[in-house]
Symmetry: C2
């Protein structure tokens, strides 16, 4: 996979969480998905299609991490992952992808975004049906960890 596709999502996620949730997050060392499995409690997922490439983005949060982020976003103290948390995860996924799409467009890659979906369920994992590689970037926040997974095929 073209590594150029990864950083726009990383940069956009850092921006979105700083702006929307006043949460600073630190990216950890990226790894190829085949080495490990990222497990989480809620995942936002979105597809992208373009003339030159197609791909998908998943953001998988552990429960403490997303409750912290959404509590900051909404200004109320959330205790469990419910539909309003799922809606925020969909919105975060949309905003991160929108920001990355803009950066990619400046690099000459035009994409259209599908509708994001959010998966709720304790300790689930994601398998991307791509012939290419899946890059996973772990993030750490004050409240817990989460992961973004990016895969593209040209």
């Amino acid at each position: 996979m073209n590594i150029e596709f990864v950083n726009p999502f990383l940069v956009s996620l850092i921006n979105v969480l700083a702006t929307m949730a006043k949460t600073e997050v630190i990216p950890d060392k990226p790894f190829l998905k085949s080495e490990k499995i990222a497990k989480g409690d809620v995942t936002g997922i979105i597809g992208l299609t373009g003339d030159k490439a197609k791909g998908s983005l998943a953001i998988t949060f552990t429960e403490p991490a997303i409750l912290h982020i959404v509590s900051k976003m909404l200004g109320e103290n959330l205790q469990r992952i419910d539909e309003s948390v799922a809606d925020c995860v969909g919105e975060i996924t949309n905003m991160v992808t929108g920001g990355a799409k803009k950066i990619l467009s400046e690099k000459g890659y035009k994409f259209n975004m599908a509708i994001p979906s959010t998966i709720i369920g304790k300790n689930h994992s994601i398998v991307h049906a791509t012939k290419g590689q899946v890059i996973c970037i772990p993030f750490n926040s004050i409240a817990g960890s989460f992961f973004i997974e990016v895969c593209f095929e040209e």
Copy 2:
């Protein structure tokens, strides 16, 4: 949501399972997703984008249903949801969407398909971040039930 977008996925799913898994499945009464939540153990999900509309498809299987289907597809007796089952769910999702895309194209709706992803995890549910309605169609097979969820925005 335009109901024209739903039947191509229903017809395509029946075809794919009959052809690939020699499994006849019967669609039950469709319902709007807001009324109920479909829960399953493995889900294939894919985004579609087009000039006139964008959407996503999710196929959520209970464990007995998918183990039956994949065992028929691969000709071996599978006991649990592992990565080979996830790969088959991704492949089913791809084939169903490819078939639906062809039917939709004949109706004048051209779509591009993103990369399918598969979620593995006991009893998870999906929330689609769409302003439109989500149509869920339950299916029954000899081995158990599963659901397709279709949402599109024009």
